[in-house]
């Protein structure tokens, strides 16, 4: 009897080294939340480098200020709420970077400060922190300051590479299009030597970083694919109806915040749907809204609004696209 097996009789017979735990007994090590955030930062590098090159001091100062603000607001709020600190997961840094990259270089410092704080506080902390927020924190921050300080948020200047160091006043490509009907050359849009928000000018940099993110699997490729698909279809249809040689569907794809938004902002996992169909729906929804806003609304660009609008619909999209289990069809379940 003494050596009869069973938990009761011989607890952990052998060794203090042995442990029990629930299955699965192994986990994949190639990813963790921190690693994902690091990936986003790596992927943002080309964008950041281009913004340093084009906007110089403005870019450095905005990026620093936004990151510091985001991290400190998050740290402070968690203290205030008596919750464990969360800054080490790196998501506040990502929020800061993306928020800064969405600002025009000439935005005053307080716009950056207020926006970054509003983004983290209203966009993240009040929902309970990482993973719980409904809206993209960086875009909440941007929308807040865009509506609070519309005059300060116009992209009104940048350091031109061709003429040296002056701050030129020139309309962004989309504003030029909307208000004056002027086009911008594709080469400029690709390389980024135009006016605009810090991170949006170079289509190439966004593509490089974006492909890295999707290839790593950190961002779901379905979302940018959906966005680009919708934009291509809608702008091509509009182009066929009313051809504008100075502004082709390719211009629509590479101008404004579209690529930055499609690859880095729409893909924020927390605020996008989780199902496959849901991600397509989400991407296509964003693309469609961007085009609606670009063509019809009072704003030259609509990435931020579209992302926020689709964020708000994401829970619904998720709910309506719960996949059927393999082989399942509704109502066929055995009682």
């Amino acid at each position: 009897m003494n050596n009869a097996p069973g938990k009761e009789n011989t607890p952990l017979a052998q060794a203090p080294t042995l442990s029990v735990g629930p299955s699965p007994h192994m986990v994949s090590r190639d990813l963790s939340t921190r690693r994902m955030m690091a990936d986003v930062i790596i992927a943002l590098l080309p964008v950041i480098v281009v913004s340093f090159y084009i906007f110089r001091w403005f870019a450095i100062y905005h990026l620093l200020l936004a990151v510091i603000t985001c991290v400190s607001v998050e740290a402070l709020s968690m203290r205030l709420l008596r919750r464990p600190p969360t800054i080490q997961d790196g998501s506040a840094v990502v929020t800061g970077l993306i928020f800064a990259l969405s600002l025009p270089g000439t935005a005053p410092w307080y716009v950056n400060l207020i926006g970054a704080a509003a983004g983290i506080f209203l966009g993240k902390v009040v929902f309970g922190g990482l993973g719980q927020n409904i809206f993209n924190p960086a875009m909440v921050g941007r929308a807040f300051v865009m509506i609070a300080f519309p005059a300060a948020m116009g992209a009104s200047g940048y350091v031109s590479q061709s003429t040296g160091v002056d701050i030129l006043t020139s309309a962004t490509p989309l504003t030029a299009l909307k208000q004056m009907g002027q086009g911008t050359s594709l080469m400029h849009l690709l390389m980024g030597d135009t006016n605009g928000s810090l991170g949006e000018t170079s289509a190439l940099a966004c593509l490089v970083g974006g492909f890295y993110l999707c290839a790593r699997g950190t961002a779901s490729w379905r979302i940018p694919a959906g966005v680009l698909l919708a934009v291509t279809i809608i702008s091509s249809a509009a182009y066929l109806i009313h051809p504008t040689p100075h502004w082709t569907p390719l211009h629509h794809l590479s101008a404004g915040a579209l690529l930055l938004g499609a690859f880095f902002i729409a893909t924020d996992p927390v605020t996008s749907p989780v199902t496959r169909k849901g991600r397509w729906t989400f991407g296509i929804g964003i693309g469609t809204l961007v085009m609606l806003i670009r063509y019809l609304s009072g704003y030259p660009e609509g990435v931020m609004f579209s992302v926020l609008l689709m964020n708000s619909a994401a829970p619904l999209v998720d709910r309506l696209t719960v996949p059927l289990p393999l082989g399942g069809s509704p109502g066929k379940r055995k009682p």
Binding site: I134, A143, L289, Y295, S312, P315
Partner: protein
Amino acid sequence: MDLLVTLLLIAVGAALINNFVLHYFVGLCPFMGVSRRLDTATGMGFAVTFVISVASFLSWTLTYFVLRPGAPLTTWLLHREVDLSILNYIVYIFVIASSVQFVEMYVRRFFPNLHRSFGVYLPLITTNCAILFACLEIMKHVSGVEDPARVWGLPQALTLAFFAGIGFTIAIVIMAGIREQLDVADVPRALQGAGIAFVVAGILAMAFTGFTGVDRGLEKILKPAPSRHAASPSARIHSRGGEQ
């Protein structure tokens, strides 16, 4: 065609741009109170749409024919222009209360299924300001408008009401989806419930700002600027100028 464009613009305006909840802050009680679950929110949305349409129909009719200064019916009855607009509010509130009653009876009788799904919300709507607000908006375009070309007819009134209802439904359904997700989130205690719902509504209002100007954009496309150049051949006007 022009009427259709006008109706389209009213519809887009009421549903998206000047959303009743997110822009005018009306209908907040049901918006906050009945948006915890998706199915009840949908029911409430449809109930409001239904009642708002019926009530607007009645209030337009009464305002147009009876209440406004110079209304045809009163003029015909009393042989002079009278202004009964002081009774507007009283009449509207009774119209709303009775349309709710009427709608409830009708639905219960003829669409028992529908009644089961949203009948319970109907009485709640009586004191919903969205309905009264719709009546007041319609009044603004009917009563006391001096330019007869700008007085709203029934199509405009009904379009406004119906699409305001749709806009309310969109907002409450989105809100319900979000709140269902927030059920499983770790929202700070002080903000749970109404607090976080208001913050969400605020962010939604920011997001809906993106639609500003869509009606203007549509108008531009659908009604190509009416002959800014051609319409007034200036030479002829010049020649007429002397006669005046």
